[in-house]
């Protein structure tokens, strides 16, 4: 059976890690000792030698002798069988009982299941040792009582685990199908549910055995478990503790044995859990191969007429991976002037968001940002450049604001919204609590949050998505920003709310003369707010053009494809631009030549061999394409069938008019 061989492969895989090897060696040693130790050392362990009472470690007795002159080391070894055996027995009882209780909802139906569930919930609240003491009273003092006590004390935890996993599996489609097909409960349980939860159960049972071993040792230690003349590790520990002043080795030997054996079980469980992927210790970031990329060429700086707000030249962002460095942003240059709105569009993975984060100095180690120039308000932001960290922090904190994609997760869930806003001016402008709070309320009402005074005292989860995004924008205008970087600020919002947020950004921009860097995968949205648009592909800018030219006069085939793929109300917004055939290239493995060539209808041999540089095409327009001269009309139709239904086919007058409307509407009357 392929499934079985796959599973066993994974279990064997557990052995390959250092953890797995250690665990396996320990576990085998413990189990072998449990079998052979009494056969070999029983006589030595029980030999009473009145002449050698309470001796310290010697060559004859490695850890000395006890009150009756018996060899403690031999006794510890012999006790392995009873200690491990009783612990395994108790685990077996616990697992069986737990399985029965946990699967009760499947076997007995919902109502009985609910009662048992409630009982389990109450039982799990109590620590296992307390339950074990309780059951020890009922089942009586002694080995038998202790086995039952520990078994039943383990059961509730197991029942809970089984219950949760069974509920998850039961809700899956194939169980429902089996039920509809009229298969009996018992059969469903045996055939469909148990095999699906077997692996995690075995892992937990292994760990439970370790815990049972410790619990048993503690009960015996207290005198409630194994009774003389039998002995397990707990009993030896108790006897040893009484003599700890005279000779401590006795107590320590039994203690070490218990810890090692318990660790053997726990580590085995842990190793298997890791191997079969129950626990992910570290989510591997980027494991694939990466080719070290030569940064082909930097883009020429656009001509700067006046002092720009933001000037970026040859910006690169790279991350180390297991097999070298990847560079998802490869030499981006852009300029934002005072009050100007620049849009960056591209598919996901084009590097547009990383560009935004890099400009805002929010790329974290091990990510690396390099640039020939990265000036904001005349200050050099590049790392390593001589500068005052605190001054820079204040400058960025007051003059540069960020608005992120997902308003549901971008606000701190445990802090009142007003406090999160107030924090900005308290941190950077030394405002006192009351002034900062008043400013926060004022900003909230400025972003049209009704009842701002009351709302400021609420927590983010009491806000709707659109309100949260407006609160984020409000946070952005707490100080006196000169530049707002908005990274897909409307992607997570529905269409009506999206409009309001865009309008708000446009208003703020007009009223406060703030520059805007607007990142989006959606050409329409960018068209609505921006003066200029930069189109990014595979970590580079491939076209830079005024918004007016976007619809009908784009030069790069990729830009034209983006425009053609504009979604409308009927398109699924979760699938950005799925209608451009092919996929964006993997930054690990860029093709030679133009990275868009494999998807481009115009691609020629030149395209496949040489990467075109971003060059000035006309006044204020740049493009990186060997075929930029081809008129838009000459573009072969590379759109897929779904485009037709979009109603945004190029040249269709009705559709184009619609789009023009959309672009004009929110800005009408807002801009000077």
């Amino acid at each position: 059976m392929p499934v079985a061989s796959h599973a066993s492969k994974r279990w064997i895989g557990a052995l390959r890690s250092p953890l797995g090897i250690t665990a396996a060696v320990l576990l085998v040693a413990v189990l072998v000792l449990a079998v052979v130790a009494p056969l070999i050392w029983q006589g030595r362990a029980d030999a009473v030698q009145s002449a050698e009472i309470l001796q310290g470690p010697s060559s004859a007795h490695p850890v000395g002798t006890d009150l009756l002159g018996r060899d403690i080391f031999a006794r510890v070894l012999v006790a392995t069988r009873l200690s491990v055996g009783l612990a395994l027995l108790a685990t077996a009882i616990g697992v069986t009982t737990g399985l029965l209780l946990g699967t009760a909802p499947v076997l007995l139906g919902r109502r009985a299941g609910r009662w048992i569930g409630a009982l389990i919930n109450i039982a799990v609240a109590f620590p296992a040792l307390l339950l074990a003491l309780f059951f020890a009273v009922i089942f009586g003092v002694g080995a038998k009582g202790a086995v039952l006590a520990i078994g039943f004390a383990t059961a509730p935890g197991f029942a809970r685990l089984t219950q949760t996993m069974t509920a998850t599996v039961s809700s899956r489609d194939f169980i429902a199908a089996a039920r509809v097909a009229g298969i009996g409960r018992m059969r469903i349980l045996a055939r469909h549910v148990l095999p699906n939860i077997a692996e995690p159960l075995v892992v937990s049972a292994t760990m439970a055995a370790g815990t049972a071993l410790l619990s048993f040792a503690s009960l015996s230690f207290l005198g409630l478990g194994v009774q003389a003349p039998s002995y397990d590790w707990g009993r030896l520990l108790g006897e040893g503790l009484a003599q700890i002043y005279v000779h401590p080795a006795g107590a320590l030997a039994a203690g070490i044995a218990v810890v090692l054996a318990a660790m053997a079980f726990n580590l085995s469980g842990e190793a298997v859990a890791r191997a079969i992927g129950l626990r992910s210790t570290h989510a591997g970031k980027r494991a694939e191969t990466a080719t070290d990329h030569q940064i082909a060429q930097s883009e020429p700086e656009p001509d700067a007429s006046d002092q720009p707000l933001l000037a970026v030249q040859n910006l690169q962002v790279s991350f180390p991976t297991a097999s070298g460095e990847v560079t998802p942003v490869r030499g981006v240059s852009l300029t934002v002037r005072k009050g100007e709105a620049i849009g960056i569009v591209g598919e996901s993975g084009s590097g547009k968001s990383l560009t935004a984060l890099a400009i805002a100095q929010l790329i974290e180690r091990p990510g690396q940002v390099r640039a020939d120039r990265l000036d904001f308000l005349g200050a050099d932001l590049r790392e390593g450049v001589e500068q005052s960290k605190n001054e820079l922090r204040r400058l960025l904190g007051t003059s540069l604001s960020m608005v992120f994609q997902d308003p549901m997760t971008s606000l701190n869930p445990t802090q009142r919204v007003g406090r999160q806003l107030a924090e900005v001016v308290r941190e950077h402008q030394g405002a006192d609590r009351r002034t900062a709070w008043r400013r926060a309320v004022d900003r909230l009402s400025a972003v049209r949050i009704p009842g701002a005074e009351r709302r400021a005292r609420q927590l983010p989860h009491e806000f709707s998505g659109g309100m949260r995004q407006r609160a984020m924008i409000g946070m952005g205008v707490m100080a006196n920003p000169k530049l707002i970087i908005a990274d897909e600020p409307t992607t997570a919002l529905d269409v009506t709310v999206q409009r309001q947020v865009l309008q708000l950004l446009a208003n703020i921009r007009a009223a406060e003369d703030v520059g805007l860097l607007f990142i989006s995968h959606d050409v329409t949205v960018v068209g609505q707010v921006c003066d200029r648009v930069l189109v990014m592909y595979a970590g580079r800018v491939v076209e830079d053009l005024p918004t007016e030219a976007l619809l009908h006069d784009a030069r790069h085939p990729y830009t034209r494809a983006l425009v053609a793929a504009v979604p409308d109300m009927t398109t699924d917004r979760d699938r950005p631009l799925a209608v451009i055939p092919g996929r964006p290239p993997d930054p690990h493995d860029l093709p030679t030549g133009c990275p868009y060539a494999p998807r481009c209808p115009l691609a020629s041999d030149q395209c496949r061999q040489e990467d075109p540089a971003l060059t000035t095409y006309a006044a204020g327009r740049r493009v990186a394409c060997w075929h930029a001269d081809l008129a838009p009309a000459a573009v072969p139709d590379n759109r897929t069938a779904s485009d037709e239904t979009n109603g945004l086919v190029q040249g269709d007058p009705v559709a184009s008019e619609n789009t023009d409307d959309q672009i004009a509407a929110p800005l009408g009357g807002e801009r000077p």
Binding site: L129, A136, F221, L224, L237, I244, R393, S410
Partner: protein, 322 residues
């Protein structure tokens, strides 16, 4: 996504649900403690007095304990007595059980609370340190060393930890008393034995939770506000990491209460832990019943406190967990 109904409403519902849960748990606990004696195989009085006890004495004890009444009447009596704070009479000492408990409860609570305080005070900064080290690519080694040490230490159960600590600090170094409760120095080893394991366990939780929280979008927002990294860790990350930590912390505190049983026996601590083991061995059932009840109520109280604290710290939990 706006919460339906006001926040007051949500709090009221949370209070009702939690109170109902508590009442049900207490009832199950009380009934379990009552039944404990009655499901015992054989006659508990005969078991406790031994096979040589005269029949008249056994009969007298049975009458005294009300064991000759029908079960439901005994149950009603038991409940009635509980409400008046009467837990019965110890079979071995003849003292009222509530008196035995009240003289010993204090020192157990004291030890448990001290140990929990130590565990929390150590674990939060330790977990924070581990998280900071883990995020710094150049200092991962420190995190690795602390995490591994934590795994090993947290596997050692408290009674073995106690034996080890006694060996080092009392036997070898002779700095601290080996047992008993007399003066501040006698508190050190029992409290440490109880606290070290949970402290490392909690530190691991704090570390994992912090590392997860530090990936959150709102931390990026805090960084975009250009806060000092101290403010980001302490003001924005830590409060969000504490809810999960507190949940586990509650479980650990419950386990810690149970751990006092072992520790008290090792250090001859005059608390309830010594009492319960002694009375189980002496088959002094009324005392066992009373102490089990107190331990159980203690655990339920801890769970309640943790839940309320969670609801206050993370208001979403009260609303969501419907």
């Amino acid at each position: 996504m706006v919460a339906i109904g006001g926040p007051e409403n949500a709090w009221a519902r949370f209070g009702m649900r939690r109170a109902g849960q508590l009442v049900l748990s207490v009832w199950v606990l009380v009934t379990a403690a009552f039944l404990m004696i009655h499901v015992l195989p054989g006659d508990p009085v005969r078991a406790s007095l031994g096979p040589t006890a005269p029949l008249a004495l056994i009969e007298q004890r049975r009458e005294q304990l009300g064991l000759n009444d029908p079960l439901w009447l005994q149950y009603l009596h038991y409940l009635g007595n509980l409400f008046t704070g009467d837990l019965g009479v110890s079979m071995s000492s003849g003292l009222p059980v509530q008196e035995v408990i009240s003289t010993r409860l204090g020192s157990t609570v004291e030890m448990a609370l001290l140990a929990f305080a130590v565990a929390v005070v150590v674990s939060v900064p330790l977990g924070l340190l581990m998280a900071v080290l883990a995020r710094d690519t150049r200092r991962r080694g420190g995190d690795w060393a602390l995490t591994s040490a934590g795994v090993v230490v947290a596997t050692i159960p408290e009674f073995l930890m106690a034996v080890g600590l006694v060996f080092v600090f009392s036997v070898q170094l002779g700095w601290l008393p080996v047992a008993g409760r007399s003066g501040p120095s006698s508190y050190v080893l029992p409290v440490l034995s109880l606290a070290v394991g949970p402290a490392f366990m909690l530190a691991r939780i704090v570390r994992v939770e912090l590392l997860a929280v530090l990936q959150a979008d709102y931390i990026r927002t805090a960084r975009a506000k250009r806060l000092r990294s101290g403010a980001i860790y302490l003001r924005h990350a830590l409060p969000n990491a504490l809810t999960a930590t507190l949940t586990i912390g509650g479980l650990l505190l419950g386990a810690l209460v149970a751990g006092t049983v072992l520790i008290e026996n090792i250090f001859a601590w005059p608390g309830l832990g010594g009492t319960i083991v002694g009375s189980i061995l002496a088959k002094d059932y009324p005392t066992v019943q009373g102490v089990v009840l107190v331990y159980g109520l203690g655990v339920l109280l801890i769970n309640l406190v943790v839940d309320v604290a969670l609801a206050v710290l993370d208001p979403r939990s009260a609303i969501r967990e419907a």
